[in-house]
């Protein structure tokens, strides 16, 4: 289960994620994020209520990061310790902007 809440403020798209970003939930979220990136290239992902991320979730983040490239910024906020560790071992702390 994944719930996403999307808000737009000053051209920044913000997704608050709640639940699990896994094989089952990732495809929908990927479609959602890609559609949003057609409008704006500045993205904030709030991970406060995200409990779990698997490689399928990491795929979505990397794909989004590639689309944005140098034309904008994707920022992850409120990342919990366990998920942070996943980002560390996969080198994602170096390619994503995490606050």
């Amino acid at each position: 289960m994944l719930n996403t809440t999307k808000t737009i403020e000053d051209g920044v798209i913000r997704f608050a994620l709640e639940g699990r970003l896994d094989t089952v939930t990732s495809p929908d979220f990927e479609a959602e994020i890609k559609a949003s990136l057609e409008d704006a290239k500045n993205l904030v992902l709030d991970f406060e209520k995200l409990d779990y991320i698997s490689s399928a979730g990491l795929r979505v983040l990397l794909a989004a990061q590639k689309i944005i490239g140098g034309g904008g910024q994707m920022k992850l906020i409120n990342v919990n310790e366990t998920i942070m560790e996943i980002f560390e071992v996969t080198g994602f702390t170096d390619i994503l902007t995490i606050e």
């Binding site: 094989t23 089952v24 779990y52 698997s54 590639k66 366990t82 996943i86 080198g91 170096d94």
Partner: protein, 530 residues
């Protein structure tokens, strides 16, 4: 002393009502509580409320009962319900012609309309029982057991009943009786629920301890068994360790309901804590023990015949114990019978069974069986995973390898891990690994066909280690042979994907792969103590 309030009490008649009541209670013993019966009270104004306050001054134990909803609202709005016990009038419900859908030790459950059922209590003075059942049902729900909680108390003839919402539900008894091809499905669901119950830890002091109850039975039995056997029974029961896991206490198939796609446990008043042997004992009684002499009994009780009941019980026990080994199943059944017979004999004797010939024959039969069992049993304890080696426990799931089944695999692993103290971080890491491996098998092992995957979870002690093995019969594939991705590259340089196995290696302590007898066997290990 009870005084009836009638009609309207307002500023017009409050003074008069007050002096009348005071006159009536003049002779009342001061230790007696004053009860105002408001069944016929239509309205009460603030003048009337003051009268009640005056009465309460001289009678601090004052209670008001049978209050109509509209009058209750007045008491509630003015804060009287906080100061004085005010009991609502109970709705009256008739169960005449209603379908009986369940029957337990303390009451019978009827369907009163499409959406609602009422449990009518045998005990006429059941308000306390109702309160108790409501509380334990709430507790069970909070602890994760799917159940229904009553939302109203009603009067059914001279008895009380509690009303539950139960939509389109049918009991497992009904399904077993009417749809024989669903028997195996019923066994699985029934055992899953049983394991869920027995895997639930209950905070201390919240539920009665079944071991203590069983000690009472053994005590009672001392008078009816030869001395040596009486003593043996007590020793066996006392040797069962105290256990804080939940048991239902009356777990037969009328107490499990299928509502839409959800399985619900009902009739919660016997909820207790204790070793599973006590549960198996009452289950043995429900399916076999009660009907051992007169096989027709089960038909009246459950709606299916004795042969079906025997078959169901045997399948349940095998699935619960995780073994097909007849000797092990028989051994556990015998332990259950010991406690079960003690209970049956005591129950029958307390109901006057010694006075009537038919019951006496039953008692003699149970007693002979019990004595025989006591002669060759040295412990009531058993392993839930009787088939596995000592010092570790094993759980297995065979499932079609398709991405849609991921959730079921994940919850199977999570449920197994519930039994050990798995830190949340390790649990998430295990989830990551399980997801990667299962999704890999689902996507590639049999493509474009579909096949099965076997998932086995073993828990080893010292150090506490969980090991998860995936077996499939698909294309040989060693995920460990794959080169690790370079995680130092930039986002632009990195390829999307290919991270799954790498993550799995990172979060697990050990991964091994072998291809043997046409099967891919991948084992993940995670130390939970590190």
């Amino acid at each position: 002393m009870t005084i009836k309030l009638t009609g309207r009490i307002d500023s017009g008649n409050a003074a008069e009502v007050e002096s009348k009541i005071f006159k009536e209670i003049e002779s009342m013993d001061s230790s007696e509580a004053l009860v105002l019966d408001a069944a016929d009270l239509e309205y009460i104004s603030s003048a009337g409320l003051r009268t009640i306050l005056h009465l309460r001054k001289t009678n601090p134990g004052l209670r008001i009962i049978n209050v109509r909803p509209e009058v209750y609202e007045i008491f509630d709005m003015t804060g009287f319900t906080e100061m004085i016990p005010v009991e609502k009038a109970y709705r009256v419900v008739s169960v005449e012609g209603c379908e009986e859908i369940g029957r337990g030790a303390n009451g019978t459950i009827y369907r009163i309309d499409k959406d609602n059922v009422v449990k009518v209590y045998n005990n006429a003075d059941a308000l306390e029982d109702i309160q108790h059942e409501r509380e334990v049902a709430k507790l069970a729900l909070i602890l994760g057991i799917p159940t229904a909680i009553s939302y109203d108390v009603v009067k059914v003839g001279e008895s009380y009943g509690s009303v539950f919402e139960l939509l389109n539900a049918s009991s497992f008894s009904k399904i077993i009786a009417s749809e024989p091809d669903k028997l195996d499905w019923c066994v699985k669901e029934y055992v899953d629920m049983l394991k869920l119950i027995h895997g639930t830890l209950v905070p201390k002091g919240k539920l009665p301890d079944m071991r203590e109850t069983a000690i009472e039975w053994a005590e009672f039995m001392k008078d009816y068994l030869p001395e040596a056997e009486g003593k043996k029974l007590m020793e066996l029961v006392e040797a069962v360790p105290q256990d804080d896991h939940m048991i239902h206490g009356d777990y037969h198939t009328k107490n499990l309901e299928l509502q839409n796609d959800e399985v619900l446990l009902i009739d919660m008043d016997t909820l207790a804590v204790g070793h599973p042997i006590f549960e198996l004992a009452s289950m043995y009684n429900a399916f076999i023990g009660f009907s051992e002499i007169d096989h027709e009994t089960i038909k009246k009780f459950q709606g299916f015949d004795f042969e079906t009941s025997k078959k169901f019980w045997h399948k349940v026990l095998a699935a619960y114990l995780g073994t097909e080994n007849e000797a092990i199943i028989r051994e556990v059944e015998d332990k259950a019978r010991i406690v079960g017979y003690a209970r049956l004999i005591r129950r029958s004797i307390r109901r006057g069974g010694l006075e009537d010939a038919e019951s006496l024959a039953e008692i003699e039969h149970w007693k002979a069986e019990l004595i025989e069992l006591l002669g060759r049993t040295d412990t009531l304890l058993f392993d839930v995973n009787a088939a596995s080696e000592g010092g570790s426990s094993s759980h297995e799931l065979v499932i079609e390898a398709c991405p849609e089944n991921l959730d079921e695999v994940m919850s199977f692993v999570a449920k197994t891990l519930d039994a050990v103290d798995c830190p949340p971080k390790a649990a998430m890491q295990i989830d990551i690994a399980v997801e990667e491996i299962f999704v890999n098998i689902a996507n590639y092992a049999y493509a474009p066909e579909i096949g099965n995957a076997t998932v086995m979870v073993d828990i080893e002690e010292d150090p506490l280690t969980v090991s998860i093995t995936f077996i499939d019969h698909g294309t040989p594939y060693d995920p460990l042979a794959k080169e690790d991705p370079d995680v130092t590259l930039t986002a632009e340089e990195r390829e999307i994907g290919g991270l799954g196995i790498f993550m799995t290696k990172q979060v697990m302590d050990d991964i091994s792969y072998e291809y043997k007898d046409g099967r891919n066997i991948l084992t993940l290990k995670k130390n939970l103590q590190g």
